[in-house]
């Protein structure tokens, strides 16, 4: 990494746990032998804040946290294709608020499951390769973005099954896209990162009419005029290796590579020249033994804390918004499968 200039040093968190909060393992569930790649709580509908879903292998499972530490398995879905291996899952809903689960994996097919009717709503075929992450727009939960190995990020309308935008092309990623995230309040903005070591911020402001059009589209989804967004508004080279996870923290971005740390940085764009700008690294959250890729971190609903696992099965919980960062807890987990651990609202 380049030397940091004086006056631009990031604040680095101390690895001494503050013990502000205590975490305990209350339950341990195991789904067969196949590893679980993702677990995600429902953040988009307050009725179901206690519901979470897991994916692993060709299976998607829905659980509910009940009183007294009881966890109930509500539903389970199995892809008929045994070769399918789901990598990612996200909650979404249609405009009527009916909850959907959106899952994707090695086959590159996005499965939209209507969980209230317990059936497959739609399948999106289009990605040219496996899907590494799916995220839902929190303000418009019918919109999801998917990051794929085919070097593109795509915006979908789960209600109508339309691929609205493809973020790829001349200024796009040059290798697998590993992670993508919607800005929490700027509805036009997404950030994506991947194996080309960059984080790219995209704006769909100029393409918003297509997003609106997708809600009223009645013709075949394949006839929708899908647009390519070829140029991001910002490209950051914060890392020198694969960037496997990024999340917005307000207007800042949390991202991580294989450098044993999560980095919080501020994108400083130049008004006149889109695509250019500098990244001001503000804070660093060290995570020891976290030098392999495809370890993601996850934030709670209020963005107070982020949790991340490491190679040794330890989980680090960081207080995100304190300066300098405070480690809330270091947890020892028995299972090495836990790579992805969101903080629930509890």
């Amino acid at each position: 990494m380049a030397r940091t200039a004086i006056g631009c040093e990031p604040l680095v968190g101390s690895l001494t746990p503050s013990k502000k909060r205590e975490y305990r393992v209350t339950n341990k569930l195991q789904e067969g032998k196949r590893p679980l790649y993702a677990v995600v709580f429902n953040f988009i509908d307050s009725r179901y804040f206690n519901v979470f879903a897991t994916v692993g292998g060709n299976r998607v499972t829905v659980y509910q946290c009940l009183e007294g530490g009881v966890i109930a398995a509500l539903q389970s879905y199995v892809d008929e294709d045994k070769e399918e291996s789901f990598y990612t899952v996200s909650w979404a809903c249609n405009v009527d608020g009916i909850p959907f689960l959106v899952a994707g994996g090695i086959n590159g097919i996005i499965r939209v499951i209507d969980v209230s009717n317990e059936k497959l709503h739609k399948s999106f075929v289009g990605h040219g390769d496996s899907i590494n992450e799916i995220r839902t727009q929190p303000l418009k939960p019918s919109l999801v973005v998917s990051a794929s190995k085919d070097e593109s990020v795509r915006l979908w309308n789960v209600q109508t099954g339309i691929c609205i935008l493809i973020f790829a092309g001349a200024g796009g990623h040059r290798n697998e896209v590993l992670s993508v995230d919607f800005h929490p309040s700027d509805i036009y903005r997404i950030a994506s990162c991947g194996m080309d070591n960059t984080v790219k911020i995209w704006s769909m402001k100029e393409f918003w009419t297509y997003v609106e059009k997708s809600f009223t589209w009645t013709d075949l989804p394949s006839k929708f005029p899908t647009k390519y967004v070829q140029f991001p508004v910002f490209i950051a080279s914060v890392h020198s290796n694969y960037v496997d996870c990024n999340r917005w923290l307000g207007d800042f971005i949390l991202s991580k590579s294989v450098d044993n740390e999560i980095v919080l940085w501020e994108p400083k764009m130049k008004e006149q020249s889109p695509g250019e700008g500098t990244a001001d690294i503000l804070q660093k959250y060290p995570v020891p033994e976290c030098d392999i890729w495809f370890i993601k971190f996850s934030c709670d609903f209020h963005y107070n804390a982020a949790a991340i696992g490491n190679r040794e099965g330890k989980i680090f919980v960081w207080e995100l918004q304190s300066s300098p960062p405070v480690l809330i807890a270091r947890l020892i987990c028995f299972s090495l499968h836990v790579k992805y651990n969101p903080q629930s609202v509890y």
């Binding site: 004086i6 006056g7 009725r47 499972t61 007294g68 530490g69 009881v70 398995a73 309040s185 300066s323």
Partner: protein, 864 residues
């Protein structure tokens, strides 16, 4: 980062204690103080930012909460998970139990819903459709970039920095100074001066070269000292529009960004900042007869008569009329080179036009001689005008008579000007001629000058060449006249002729270059909003008068055209008289079968080898290409984009095949692996359909059959799952043998880049590289068209051919045989024997072993 920060601080602390005794100690201490201060401020600023962001997040969260909870209000009825849970697992309730011990449950699900099978599509990388090749953008290069690849099992493998020469040592990067460093620098230098020790200490402290520290200090000094000044300048700059710039500065973006080959800005194929090639042969002016010309605006010089009617009795008007009539003549002359045979007709028209005006002027001058009151003379002039217009010829005769009486000295000029075809006159005669005029001029008052000029014009009716001569002489006198009249009321238009900004002058010169001396066109196209037609014509006359008396030189025959002509002559062929040049141009139609193409090119084709495919770069040679011509050197023909003349020996001369031929090696273009070019070939033209505009050119009917890439006469290609492997390209309609199917487009990358990418692609077992020529390889990986998905076969139904189309190599895919509709397309990737991947080497019929395997493409090297 932490450790380094503490390291450096401890180090500096140590050095402080060591040096505390000498003078530098204080400095080091100061530096550390400053650093600490800057860092402390940084901590505060980061905290501020985080705090501000926290407030924003709180706001966002409350918004999110309302979105999520509103839903539950509207849909209070639980339409969610109505069913009973499949099973329940109870762990330890919170607050109880052993921290380190938890029951492990195996989730056993009795029922699960099936997600029905969906047909998978073959894998591909997202790609952008290109209808035209593009050169790779700099930032897309993988050369010298470290890329890490992991194989399926997650173990790390480094591919892209394997060979040493590949790792380009990053040039000593210029240090970007942070605000904090700037502050340290500034404070220290302000307090301790710019002593060498101080500089060394600072550079060591920040960790960069002393020179950079000094540079930065001077820029800072400029910034702080010149702050106010700069702001002032900026403000001024915004106000003063581009008119202050020179033409070349204003044209900078045009010269740099406009592609003269593709006629568009920001050409992605040929790139920005191409070397400007100025053709040595100018196109003839776009000529238009004076007669056909309508006044271009209210300020057109042709409108001056109307103007005269409205403006009462201004002597200045006369001058402007004369100016303009002369302008008219000048235009006529300017047209002469363009349409030589029509000169006489044109002249006649002109003279007729000139007539009324001249007669007016003459009248006015007649009156003026008798009566010093110009006002009355002008009015009478106005009244008379109508009459004169009605019978201009008659009036002309009258005027001629009167003039002959008055201007006796001019009469000999008629005699002198026998040479109507523009053969250079002997010195003596022209000298005499000038002398005569000068005599005249000396004797005349300013009003007589008008008369004289008028007379000169009348004479011009008899002999245009001479007339022009006189006109020019007149022009010399014009400034005087203007001065004498400038005190009177000048019409608005004429007023600002003196305020020509440099850029306007340059624009004017460009205009003359493009349109000849046609003030209407110049004013409309180049000086619109800046100058009126009348101003332009006035300026035109002024500027030609300011020319030195080149006309007297025997080599030139038209003084009016001197300015324009000499401009050109100086640029290109200083020693060549016009006539010779024109003869040279006429030769362009003399095509000969054998002369087509450069001998060496012929040979290469005759050898039956593949096209040599050398990248063509236009040469900037003027007139003929000599041995130093880059095209010749490179082994390419000169093309129409070269600077050299059309008679250049190295030019490819195109074909002169009969219509609808050019489909066999009989055609020199076809044989040379080139498409015909309507600009170059004799009979290869593009029709506009049946005359109704907008109709696409029909195939076949009399048109050249060798312009199919140029005209994009391609077939509809369909993309679908291949019958063989992965994706495949299919044909919508049936075609016959040798039909053009479409173009294989992609990114143009260098061979070096291709080697690099090839390694990456080989790893993914999917390559879309196509060798184009000695400089470039086409890569259709991320940009291309559907034909990139056509699979390889050793017994194919298509073939790929590199064609030179308007100077660019392009890959066309052609039918090797008759192909039925909806058949899949294959062609031989033509891998070199040692380069072919295993699957391509196998004899036809053996099964593929990998689904993605077939997407490879003819590639140049496979450097293993």
């Amino acid at each position: 980062m932490v450790s380094r920060a503490s390291d450096s601080s401890s180090k500096s602390r140590k050095s402080y204690s060591e040096q505390s005794n000498d003078g530098l100690g204080n400095l080091t201490y100061k530096l550390n103080q400053l650093k600490k201060q800057v860092q402390a401020e940084r901590v505060v600023s980061v905290k501020d930012k985080i705090e501000k962001n926290r407030k924003k997040i709180e706001n966002d969260i409350s918004q999110l909460l309302s979105t999520t909870s509103r839903k539950s209000v509207i849909f209070a009825m639980d339409n969610g998970f109505g069913n009973m849970p499949l099973c329940k697992y109870s762990g330890f309730p919170q607050g109880l139990g052993d921290r380190d011990y938890v029951n492990s449950h195996e989730v056993v699900l009795s029922t699960s819903s099936k997600l029905s099978h969906v047909q998978k599509i073959p894998p591909y990388t997202t790609w952008i459709f290109l209808d035209k090749n593009q050169r790779m953008a700099e930032d897309q290069s993988v050369v010298g970039r470290r890329r890490i690849y992991y194989d399926q099992h997650g173990s790390e493998a480094l591919v892209c920095s394997d060979s040493e020469e590949d790792i380009i040592e990053p040039e000593e990067e210029k240090h970007e100074f942070s605000d904090g460093e700037d502050r340290i620098l500034w404070t220290v230098f302000e307090e301790h001066g710019l002593g060498e020790e101080v500089i060394n200490a600072v550079s060591q402290f920040i960790g960069i070269a002393t020179s950079e520290v000094q540079d930065r200090y001077s820029t800072l000094k400029e910034k702080y000292d010149g702050k106010n000044l700069k702001e002032f300048e900026d403000a001024g700059h915004e106000r003063g529009i581009a008119l202050e710039k020179s033409l070349s500065a204003a044209l900078d973006s045009f010269d740099n960004l406009f592609c003269r080959r593709c006629l568009l800005f920001d050409c992605r194929l040929h790139g920005c900042s191409q070397t400007l090639i100025n053709p040595s042969e100018k196109q003839p002016y776009w000529s238009e007869y004076e007669d056909d010309r309508k006044p271009c605006s209210n300020h057109c010089y042709l409108q001056s008569r109307a103007v005269q009617d409205t403006v009462e009795g201004s002597a200045g008007n006369i001058s402007s009329i004369i100016t303009n009539t002369e302008g008219t003549l000048l235009h006529c002359n300017a047209e002469v080179p363009g349409a030589h045979s029509d000169i006489m007709a044109g002249e006649r028209c002109n003279s007729k036009r000139v007539l009324p005006v001249t007669s007016e002027a003459v009248d006015s001058s007649e009156v003026a001689i008798g009566n010093e009151n110009t006002d009355t003379s002008m009015q009478s002039l106005g009244k008379r005008k109508a009459l004169e217009l009605n019978d201009s010829v008659k009036v002309f005769d009258e005027i001629e008579e009167s003039l002959n009486k008055k201007q006796k000295k001019l009469l000999p000029l008629d005699v002198l000007t026998a040479s109507s075809d523009g053969i250079p006159r002997p010195d003596t005669k022209s000298g005499h001629h000038v002398g005569a005029i000068n005599d005249n001029e000396l004797q005349m008052t300013s009003k007589n000058t008008i008369k004289k000029s008028v007379s000169a014009k009348v004479v011009s009716h008899n002999n245009i060449e001479h007339n022009i001569m006189d006109g020019a002489k007149d022009v010399n006198k014009e400034p005087e006249m203007k001065q004498s009249f400038s005190k009177g009321e000048l019409p608005e238009g004429v007023l600002c002729s003196s305020e020509w900004k440099p850029i306007e002058k340059e624009l004017y010169l460009k205009g003359v270059e493009i349109f000849g001396r046609n003030s209407c066109l110049i004013a409309r196209n180049l000086l619109s909003g800046l100058k009126t037609c009348m101003e332009v014509s006035t300026y035109m006359r002024d500027s030609s008068s300011s020319m030195p008396h080149k006309s007297v030189a025997p080599s030139s025959f038209l003084e009016e055209t001197v300015k324009v002509d000499t401009d050109y002559a100086e640029q290109e062929m200083p020693a060549r008289p016009r006539l010779l040049r024109r003869r040279g141009r006429a030769r362009k139609l003399k095509y000969s079968w054998k002369s087509a193409g450069h001998p060496s090119i012929w040979k290469r084709i005759a050898d039956g080898k593949n096209q040599s495919c050398k990248q063509y770069t236009p040469c900037g040679c003027q007139s003929m290409c000599g041995k130093q011509c880059p095209c010749l050197h490179n082994g390419t023909c000169c093309e129409k984009y070269c600077g050299c003349s059309k008679s250049c020996k190295n030019r490819f001369r195109g074909c002169h095949c009969a219509k609808s031929q050019c489909r066999s090696r009989q055609c020199p273009c076809f044989a040379a692996g080139r498409e015909c070019d309507p600009d170059v070939c004799r009979n290869c033209w593009v029709s506009c359909g049946d005359g109704s505009l907008g109709e696409p050119p029909k195939r076949g009917d009399g048109q050249c059959g060798n312009m199919r890439l140029l005209l994009r006469q391609q077939q509809r290609i369909l993309l679908a799952k291949s019958d063989v492997a992965g994706w495949g390209a299919f044909l919508k309609n049936s075609v016959s043998k040798n039909d053009y199917l479409g173009e294989y487009t992609g990114e143009l990358i260098s061979h070096r880049e291709a080697d690099k990418r090839g390694k990456i692609y080989d790893r993914a077992n999917s390559s879309f590289l196509f060798d184009l020529n000695d400089q470039y390889v086409l890569d259709a990986y991320r940009k291309g068209d559907k034909l990139k998905f056509a699979n390889h076969s050793s017994n194919p139904n298509c073939f790929a051919k590199v064609m030179l189309v308007a100077g660019d190599h392009r890959v066309g895919i052609f039918a090797k045989e008759h192909i039925e509709a909806s058949e899949e397309l294959f062609y031989d990737y033509r891998y070199g024997p040692d380069q072919a991947p295993a699957w391509a080497r196998k004899p036809e019929g053996s099964k593929r072993e990998d689904s993605s395997v077939s997407q490879g493409r003819a590639k140049k090297h496979q450097s293993h």
